[in-house]
């Protein structure tokens, strides 16, 4: 492995560290934005970290008769997301693993965490766990095709589904970002990200109503350090998804070389972009209500239509 220099490894380490530190702040930021827009004070942005620290100091509990799935799911969730954070060109398109960071691989790694949580919820044997799992799987089954087709639309111009190549292509040809297929794919991406990260209008992360829950129902039985891992994993995944979104559609600022200055610029610009996106998502959440569960397929079908149109338009333009 002679190709590996100190710098790219440093980028990976820095990327993982910054994302893990930053993810809970992202959730806190979104909560604060919502509170302020609703005229409430709300907890400080660092509250999620405080909660995590509190949870990590608690005892572990496990439901009777649950198996290794229940214990493993939080670890799998965090681990798969961390692999994505390490692999994906989030701060720089020139990382150790950049050759291997295929967009399909990233999407399915993120999905692995969801699936393991759904299995763990079934494992608990409670009605809510089963209900949450079936709802999540129904949503994923509808959201994933839309996402895959949208990726196809992004991959078409550069003839590659490798994330660094797509990002580099956009950097070299800024006009690509304004093409119809990019805009349509952006719409599909946003809907899928909202659905998969359990945000409104698909799921309400702030609810206490067990019967309406999707993501929250999956983690009802978790407590203490396990819950901390699930919360960290979910917030990390949201951060990764928003970072991917900003890199795919507004890539400027990402480091193309491995100098210290460009790395700092990349960190600052990504933080700014993600914060802006998160603020927009949170502000949007204030305006909307949660969809009736049976309307969610219609929304996801809309995302699928957008991504199919994106592919069609890229074929027409090509």
């Amino acid at each position: 492995m002679t190709g590996i220099t100190v710098w790219p490894v440093g980028v990976v380490v820095a990327q993982v560290t910054l994302f893990v530190l930053g993810a809970p702040f992202l959730v806190g930021l979104m909560r604060t934005v919502r509170c302020r827009l609703e005229g409430r004070t709300g907890p400080p942005v660092r509250q999620t970290w405080r909660d995590l620290r509190k949870l990590l100091g608690k005892q572990r509990t496990q439901p009777e008769k649950s198996s290794v799935f229940f214990a493993m799911a939080p670890v799998v969730l965090v681990a798969t997301t961390l692999v994505v954070v390490a692999f994906a060109p989030l701060l720089s398109i020139d990382t150790v693993f950049s050759g291997g960071s295929d967009l399909f691989a990233i999407v399915f790694l993120l999905l692995l965490g969801s699936v393991s949580l759904a299995l763990a919820a079934l494992d608990t044997g409670t009605a809510f766990g089963g209900m949450g799992s079936s709802r999540l799987m129904a949503i994923v089954a509808l959201a994933e095709p839309a996402l895959l087709v949208a990726i196809l639309a992004l991959a078409a111009p550069v003839h590659s589904s490798s994330l660094p190549i797509i990002v580099a292509g956009s950097l070299h040809h800024p006009m690509w970002l304004a093409t119809p297929q990019r805009i349509l794919a952006f719409g599909a991406f946003v809907i899928v990200i909202l659905a998969e990260s359990g945000r409104l209008p698909v799921d309400n992360p702030a609810t206490h109503l067990e019967l309406t829950m999707i993501h929250e129902a999956l983690m009802l039985e978790y407590s203490g350090p396990d819950l901390a891992f699930v919360v960290l994993g979910e917030s990390l995944r949201l951060l990764v998804l928003l970072a991917l979104l900003s890199n795919l559609f507004v890539p400027w600022g990402i480091a193309t070389s491995l100098t210290g200055l460009s790395f700092v610029v990349a960190v600052v610009s990504l933080a700014a972009k993600v914060a802006l996106l998160a603020t927009l998502v949170a502000a949007g959440e204030v305006m909307v209500a949660k969809l009736r569960l049976f309307r969610v397929p219609e929304l996801l079908a809309g995302a699928f239509v957008l991504s199919v149109l994106a592919v069609l338009s890229s074929l027409v333009i090509a």
Binding site: E38, G39, R40, A127, A206, L220, V286, L291, F294
Partner: protein
């Protein structure tokens, strides 16, 4: 103190009492029900030498009240069930069976209602000399859930401990996919023995308990109790005080309805509307505190009068009206919210009538029943109308609450402008002159008010020393709870919290 004035357009309360034989009860009850009466209350009394059962029937307008009284052998109390003529009667009967040990002949559901299976057989807490609660047993009177079978049917048990800070109730859903086939609510987890607790208490002590039966209905329960006591003791209340009492009732309706409007939005995750509603509710609570000295309006009603510091000013009411109008406009302009509300958890008009529903729930299904019209204790302002909708869905219940906020504000505006109300004063027990004549050994009274959830009835009996011997409390939730499962036909599981919130029934008032 205002001087007594002649009653204006209000029919005086007068109860017609019909003593009847056990075998005649079904015939008498059917005659009254066919005559348009509704069964408002059934109360059993252990008089040692006999078990006396009182059925209170009410009708209005004009205000009419009839009490059927039957006497049973205390050794083997037994009654023919009225379930065939009145669904509500069947529930009162099950309550009576659990608490008094009255056996019911031909009851279609001879199962426990109030006491859970851990209470031993043969112990009836409301019987004289029942004593302290015996130790719990494993499974004395099991009442299993009726199973629903079929391919793909599964059960979801929810509660009695919930994720939010709400009252305890156990809901058992039988579901295919997401669609509810059947839902059974099991309540009475907060049975506190309130009726027993009030026995032997003075009127003042009883009032303190009545105001705390259901925290959000302090005026409703307090006023119904006090009106029943005043009827029993023959205490006159001036028209000014009666109007002030009606104003307190409307203020209670206001803050609860505003909170419900917000809570309905919160249940569809439209939290900005919830935040706005909570702001308005907080303003109303602070106003309440200035009016009675208590945020939940406790202490405003005393025997024979009222004890308020001031009434709300017109400007305060107008400002609340504007805030609610803004809130409603925001909700109605949001298509996602309306989509969630419309067509959800429909309670058909026939079901609302058959189940004897009351209050907002009844009126949203086109049943315009309102004790403010049927049993008025003060003249309602000109142009007062009972808010009603036909659709019976969550949206209809939302709209009825919106309209009632408007009518409550109109009532308050009319009443505060009418004439100077009673001076702040402390009505003392000895201020009041009971009617002349020999003091009877047992006096009873029936108080009916339209509390914010619906018609609320208290029936009290007092002895010669003016101590309470029996208080029977009927919260409108007792009538409305059975209607909730009916409305869930074709509703999906994730819409249940919204449906439940749109009914917003009391557990504390029901479980007593």
């Amino acid at each position: 103190m205002t001087t007594p004035v002649a009653r204006r357009g209000v029919v005086p309360n007068s109860i017609r009492v019909i003593a009847t034989a056990v075998e005649r009860i079904a015939i008498e009850a059917k005659e009254l029900l066919d005559d348009g009466f509704r069964l408002a209350l059934v109360a059993a009394h252990d008089d040692l030498e006999e078990i006396r059962v009182v059925y209170a029937f009410t009708k209005g307008p004009p205000d009419e009240r009839v009490e059927l009284v039957v006497r049973l052998d205390p050794e083997r109390p037994s009654l023919p069930s009225l379930a065939a003529v009145s669904f509500t009667a069947s529930r009162f009967e099950r309550e009576m069976r659990d608490l008094f040990g009255v056996e019911l002949v031909d009851h279609p559901q001879p199962r426990r209602l109030v006491l859970h299976q851990h209470w031993p057989q043969g112990w009836y807490p409301m019987r004289a000399g029942a004593g302290a609660a015996p130790p719990m047993v494993e499974n004395a009177g099991s009442y299993p859930f009726i199973p629903v079978e079929g391919p793909g049917v599964y059960e979801i048990p929810v509660g009695p401990v919930h994720a939010g800070l709400i009252e305890p109730g156990h809901f058992r859903f039988f579901v295919v996919g997401e669609t509810i086939l059947r839902m059974k609510a099991r309540l009475w987890f907060v049975h506190k023995g309130i009726e027993r607790l009030m026995e032997g208490k003075s009127v003042d002590e009883g009032m303190r308990i009545a105001e705390r039966i259901s925290g959000d209905t302090a005026v409703g329960h307090g006023l119904a109790f006090m009106m029943a006591v005043e009827e029993a003791l023959g205490v006159e209340v001036t028209s000014g005080d009666r109007r002030t009492r009606a104003a307190l009732l409307e203020m209670e309706r206001l803050y609860n309805h505003v909170a419900d409007l917000g809570a309905l939005c919160n249940d569809v995750a439209f939290s900005i509307a919830h935040a706005h509603a909570m702001t308005t509710r907080e303003r109303l609570l602070r106003l309440n505190e200035e009016v009675t000295g208590h945020r939940l309006l406790r202490g405003g009603i005393v025997l024979g009068g009222t004890n308020v510091r001031r009434l709300p000013a017109r400007a305060e009411l107008d400002s609340v009206g504007r805030e609610v109008a803004d809130l409603v406009a925001m909700v109605r302009s949001n298509a996602l919210v309306i989509d969630r509300f419309a067509g959800t958890a429909v309670l058909a008009h026939e079901d609302a009538v058959d189940m004897d529903t009351l209050g907002v729930v009844a009126r949203a299904s086109g049943r315009t029943i309102d004790a403010r019209v049927a049993h008025p204790f003060t003249p309602m302002p000109e142009g007062f109308t009972v808010a009603a909708r036909e659709d019976g869905d969550v949206l209809a219940r939302f709209d009825v609450r919106v309209d009632e906020v408007g009518t409550s504000l109109d009532c308050l505006r009319a009443w505060i402008g009418a004439e100077p109300t009673a001076d702040p004063r402390e009505a003392r027990y000895d201020d009041v002159t009971p009617v002349a004549g020999p003091v009877p050994t047992r006096r009873s009274g029936l108080g009916i008010v339209e509390a914010w959830r619906g018609a609320l009835v208290h029936r009290v009996e007092l002895d010669g020393d003016e101590l309470l011997t029996r208080v029977k409390v009927v919260d409108p939730s007792f009538f409305n709870w059975p209607a909730l499962p009916i409305s869930l036909a074709d509703t999906i599981i994730p819409d249940f919290p919204l449906a439940n919130k749109s009914f917003n029934l009391s557990y504390a008032g029901n479980d007593l």
